[in-house]
């Protein structure tokens, strides 16, 4: 089964979205009735393309945004409002953001950056030598042994900066790790090193993890449960390997089929028929997210029928692990792709 430890099976989910919607001031509906749960000790992956709403989920989880509808809970209790109310909750959440060049303050030394959570929550080590040791020890743990504490981020590569961000995320001993595309701006070889750091941290410190990415393969390696998002909605949730091998929602399969092959022999994108204009990105604008009562993927779905355009598919729970929102789901028979 998943890596969920026995002790936590009955515990409330660490972070739970209950019919959450988010509409930004400009009228854009970023999230439309999302229900998701990060189980205690477990790991949840959100996968989707740009504009799917996955980053908005991260911003809600970090308390940077408030939902316009629905409820967000942390360990069962509702998210408090206001900075002081959120402070105890935020101490338990460590996070790693996407752009290593943007998430570190260029004017602060590496020591101050990593130790900032200690100073915010007035934990021992905020200042002085005790802090230096803590920071140095943590930097060693993330692959920067002997780093100059007084140096500035500008001296480090993208990978180096992401390691500093991980050290900062771990220093206040959080219980949850939230990662928003932590490696999407890094080279593939550097990505493996950073992901392994995150997986080690999760295992050694028994952290629950919310991991967001547009990379299907990466999500499948990092998260026990995967939620596929599109146009601000969750189209399918399930264990990582089932989502990959036998998807229920046509969009999930389309995503998998769009991933380039493993070997020239299994080449299929470059010869037109397999992916011939299937997604019709020839049409100018992004998917309409305000399609209230219809399936949001209807206008691009190869299996779409009239019903999909007039009625919103409810979320159907196939069993305790899998659910999807589609009137004409794929059955197991159709493997749909030749895997390399």
């Amino acid at each position: 089964m998943t890596a969920q430890t026995i002790a936590q099976v009955g515990a409330p989910p660490v972070i739970a979205f209950d019919q959450v919607s988010k509409r930004y001031r400009g009228g854009r509906l970023a999230l439309d009735d999302i229900t998701l749960a990060l189980p205690a000790g477990g790991s949840l992956g959100l996968v989707g393309e740009s504009g799917s709403g996955k980053t908005t989920c991260v911003r809600l989880a970090l308390g940077l945004e408030r939902p316009t509808a629905g409820r967000l809970t942390f360990n069962g209790a509702a998210y408090p409002s206001g900075r002081s109310g959120l402070r105890p909750l935020r101490r338990q959440i460590g996070f790693v953001l996407q752009d290593p060049y943007d998430s570190l303050d260029a004017r602060m030394t590496v020591r101050d950056i990593v130790a900032e959570p200690l100073r915010i929550h007035r934990l021992p080590g905020g200042r002085g030598r005790r802090g230096d040791e803590l920071v140095a020890e943590l930097l060693g743990a993330v692959g920067l042994p002997g780093a100059d504490l007084r140096s500035y981020p500008s001296r480090y590569s993208g990978g180096g900066r992401q390691r500093i961000a991980i050290a900062r995320a771990l220093i206040a001993a959080p219980t949850v790790l939230v990662c928003d595309e932590p490696t999407s701006s890094l080279d593939v070889s550097v990505q493996s090193q950073i992901i392994n750091l995150l997986l080690d941290a999760r295992r050694e410190r028994d952290l629950s993890m919310l991991f967001v990415s547009h990379d299907l393969d990466l999500i499948g390696r990092v998260a026990d449960t995967v939620a596929v998002m599109y146009g601000g909605r969750v189209l399918e949730i399930g264990p990582a390997d089932l989502i990959r091998r036998s998807p229920r929602h046509p969009y999930t399969r389309a995503l998998h089929e769009a991933v380039p092959a493993d070997h020239p022999r299994h080449r299929r994108l470059a010869d037109r028929n397999a992916a011939g204009g299937q997604y019709g990105s020839g049409s100018p604008q992004a998917p309409a997210t305000d399609a209230r009562d219809s399936c949001v993927f209807a206008d691009r779905c190869p299996r779409a029928q009239d019903r999909c355009r007039v009625e919103r598919p409810p979320v159907i729970a196939e069993d305790s692990l899998r659910s999807y929102a589609c009137f004409f789901p794929l059955s197991d028979g159709l493997t749909g792709q030749q895997r390399g």
């Binding site: 959120l86 402070r87 303050d105 004017r107 959570p117 915010i120 206040a172």
Partner: protein, 279 residues
């Protein structure tokens, strides 16, 4: 430490010299002392440059050099004080408006709009009419007119910073509002103001001189580079030094501030420009 850029050194040197002169002003003598016997020639015209009057005398027989030194002292004082006040007020308004959105922001920014809409020199004259001549008047005028531009600059910068990852990270770590302002916003705003203030000081020197020239700043008999020029204007054809000397002094002081500004900009190396064409 990186080598100091030449502009910074040159500018700072000139400023130091002016400051030295300003402090040593009393040693040069009394700027208002009139020596009608020696300073004015038989026809009543001011005597030209000589050992006793290195820059000649002005129309009232006073030593032009002594008045020049006092003029520099006034300009430097005004520049430094009004630069500080206008930038502190402007930065504070910009920082508060940028961080505490909503009613506070609208109120402060509408005041900034008023400041920016004021007809520049005219408003200075109107305020001048309300206050008695002197250094305080000039400092008040410059502060009232100069704070709105840095406020707009800082407001824009704070809005950009709020969207940046490290500010949102600060908040997501649980940092309080004021802690974010103190730890993340203030340092960036400060370094921006350090780079802006030499330009602001240079404009202050020029504007003080302009106000005094329009007799809306520091009026005679107190020596100010501006009113020395307006006094000397009538003698422009036969004693041009009475206009050229204060004019050059103003330029030297302003140029010094500008060079310091260029030096500060050159000191933190932004990206060198690549170009695909051009010689």
């Amino acid at each position: 430490m990186r080598r100091w850029p030449w502009q910074l050194i040159a500018g700072a040197a000139v400023l130091a010299a002016c400051a030295g002169l300003a402090l040593a002003a009393p040693l040069f003598g009394n700027p208002n002392h009139q020596d009608l016997v020696h300073a004015l020639g038989p026809t009543g015209l001011p005597v030209g440059p000589s050992s006793k009057y290195p820059l000649g005398a002005d129309l009232l027989g006073r030593n032009e050099l002594v008045r020049l030194v006092y003029g520099i002292r006034v300009s430097l004082t005004v520049a430094l004080v009004s630069n500080a006040t206008s930038i502190v007020i402007g930065a504070a308004v910009g920082l508060l408006a940028g961080y505490f959105r909503g009613p506070v922001e609208q109120l402060l920014m509408r005041f900034t709009d008023i400041g920016l809409a004021l007809p520049y020199t005219l408003a200075g004259l109107v305020i001048a009419a309300v206050m008695s001549a002197g250094i305080t008047r000039v400092i008040v005028i410059i502060t009232v007119l100069f704070w709105s531009y840095p406020a707009r600059l800082v407001y824009g910068e704070v809005l950009r910073l709020r969207g940046r990852g490290f500010v949102e990270a600060g908040e997501a770590m649980g940092s309080g509002g004021l802690a974010i302002v103190r730890r993340h916003l203030a340092p960036h705003v400060t370094s921006m103001m350090i780079a802006y203030s030499p330009l602001n000081a240079a404009s202050a020197v020029a504007f003080e001189a302009t106000l005094s020239y329009l007799s809306a700043g520091i009026n005679p008999p107190t020596a100010s580079l501006g009113n020395m020029i307006s006094d000397g204007q009538t003698a422009i054809s036969y004693a041009p030094l009475l206009v050229i000397a204060p004019g050059l002094a103003i330029m030297a002081l302003t140029l010094a501030f500008l060079l310091v500004g260029e030096g500060v900009k050159a000191y933190n190396p932004d990206l060198r420009r690549l170009s695909w064409l051009g010689r």
